[in-house]
Amino acid sequence: MTDATEGAVAEDAFAFTGTWREYLPIAASNFFLTILTLGIFRSWAKARERRYLWSHTIFIDDRLEWTGTGKEMFIGLLFAMLVAALPLFLLNLLAQSLALHGQPLLAGLITFGIYLFAMLLFGFARFRALRYRLSRTWWHGIRGGSDVKGGHYAWSSLWKTAVGFFAASFLMPWALTSLWNERWNAMSFGPHRFDAAANTDGLMARWALFVIAPAVIAFAGIAMAISSGPALLFIPFLLAYAGYFVGGLVFYAAYFRKVIGTLQLGEIGFVFEASDWDLAKLILGDIALVICTIGLGSMFLSYRHWSFLIRHLGATGLVDLENFTQSTARVPREAEGFADALDIGAF
């Protein structure tokens, strides 16, 4: 007997069924084992964490499944360290010694080279991490992936980010959305390619707020302090920080609503419904959690972020299971070592 093979997707198609009590033993043993194994367990900890999070994430009628292993992540990390971290370390040493030996120009050039290399690596790592995660994510016995290697994306990421800084960084929303599109358009799930077509409509005003507000507050504060005495100088800086925080929040909330809201997979569309205030509560909650537990609460951050994403994620459109066939994208073996080594996420 077969379930219905075609149907409309309900708005609340995504659900998260995990509970923090159930997750606590996993988080705690991961945390302590990671410290006790001097960090080596980290890869296995991540695999275990994702197995829990994925298997408590429901899409329509069934849970996701994570099939990545700790072993492959560890090997990926070692590999990334060898080809990325070691050259970076050696180049840095060389630059320092050249600076000490009175060769500031050469040292500067090498430092610039290090930056370029690191930026390239950053883009590459982000692409590969996403590709790896999709290739290990299964739903209804079907997985995702990509046949694109990511070298081209790394260059795009470098030049688009650089261009983004032009014009007082006002091209940044364009850089962010266009890189998101490039990344996701290379990905697929089952037989379908993702289709990402985000533009910057509605993002520019928020970006302006993010960039200008803290600076205006800081300048106003400094002007105030000059006229009233420097004793209260910390207040404008505090306000500027607050402005930066609020501006960032307001921008990124809209950014994620935009990029996820314009993402399509076959006939499925996605929605991200977190309001600015929802995101603010998440981040403030993170900060309170970490501070109140003197850092121990940090073991819950990935759980909080994942469950937040899933709870606010929705889908629309149609799924045709009969034609939702197995992915033919190659299965990468090197896990997400580069992203791991550089400590960045996939989204």
Partner: protein, 338 residues
């Protein structure tokens, strides 16, 4: 509808979900609706916690998930779901935690010994060129008065009469400290000489640094720093672990250098009390916080515990004579004055 245990099934080719009924016959799982017979030993657990899901190693995406509670008789025949990972499921969470703790202690010890052995294995010529790189421009800011240099050379020769030479220079900086760099180099900062009231005090600090030179501690510290940053680089809580480990190491380095320094002082018939009196005096005048505190770096990088202080104060100093003649001492003090 046939009898059997209800389950969901995916064939791994399309996303169509089938509601099937299972039975076990002759060591194989029989799927009534498809007629498939899957040997039980080909099944592997693909669930999480209480989710009873099974897959096949050679057929990606092929899945069976039992609906509802599992019959105990079936449970015994099917592969067990992983709960915490293979190792912990087998031996229990606590034994694994304790074992890892013990292994961590052993690993830290081995790492400490390993970097020491590795540092000794680095050819001295390599270390010398590395030292060149590290000292760089400090050389240019060193005090070059010939009289002071000769006086310092006599003190160095007295403390360290044989073995490969140690290069000692005085850097014209107001910091009260001395450092050992790779490549058998010791740098005394002018601030230390300014603060010292007798040549014995300078000799005490120098002897301690020579202890570091003999133990190749600068090289060891370099390897350790790199090794740790490589090992713990991106680890959550790695910074804490790293600080803990490297503090632990450097404390043992310091006491080993103390012991070696004390021996050198006694061989050279110089009173070991100098270092204790210097630290006592600096401790009394130690400024709290700010940039001046950084100038008194000697106190923070070489904290003088009660034990260390006693060791230097109570060491026999019977046949001791001043570390430098009054004229040499004056010359050393004057070496940075233009």
């Amino acid at each position: 509808m046939s009898d059997g245990v209800a389950a969901w099934h995916y064939d791994g080719r399309s996303a169509v979900r089938r509601h099937v009924h299972l039975s076990i016959e002759d060591g194989a799982l029989h799927i009534a609706e498809t007629g498939d017979m899957v040997p039980l030993d080909r099944l592997r657990a693909a669930g999480e916690g209480k989710i009873e899901r099974f897959g096949l190693a050679d057929q990606p995406g092929w899945r069976i998930e039992l609906i509802g509670d599992v019959d105990p008789a079936w449970r015994a025949l099917l592969p067990r779901q992983e709960k915490h990972g293979r190792l912990m499921d087998r031996f229990g969470v606590w034994p694994v935690l304790i074992l890892c703790g013990a292994l961590a202690v052993v690993a830290i010890m081995l790492f400490g010994m390993g970097t020491r052995v590795a540092a000794r294995a680095v050819p001295l010529s390599w270390e010398m060129s590395l030292g060149e790189m590290a000292s760089g421009r400090l050389d240019e800011s060193s005090c070059a008065g010939p009289a002071g240099r000769d006086a310092l050379a006599r003190l160095v020769a007295r403390l360290h009469p044989d073995g490969p030479p140690i290069r000692v220079s005085v850097a014209d900086l107001p910091i009260v400290n001395a450092v050992t760099l790779p490549g058998r180099q010791v740098i005394l900062f002018r601030g230390l000489i300014d603060q010292a009231r007798s040549p014995d005090e300078v000799a005490g600090v120098l002897a301690h640094e020579f202890g570091h030179v003999e133990h190749r501690d600068a090289m060891v510290a370099l390897l350790r720093g790199y090794g740790l940053s490589l090992l713990l680089g991106g680890v959550d809580g790695g910074a804490i672990t790293q600080t803990l480990i490297s503090n632990r190491y450097s404390r043992s380095d310091e006491s080993a250098a103390d012991a070696a320094g004390l021996e050198m002082l006694q061989h050279a018939h110089i009173s070991p009390r100098g270092i204790a009196t210097l630290f006592d005096r600096l401790g009394r005048m130690e400024p709290t916080g700010g940039a001046t505190a950084r100038l008194f770096a000697l106190l923070s990088t070489h904290p003088l515990s009660a034990d260390r202080r006693r060791m230097f104060l109570e060491a026999p100093a019977a046949a001791a004579s001043p570390a430098l003649s009054p004229a040499d001492w004056e010359a050393l003090k004057a070496s940075c004055r233009k």
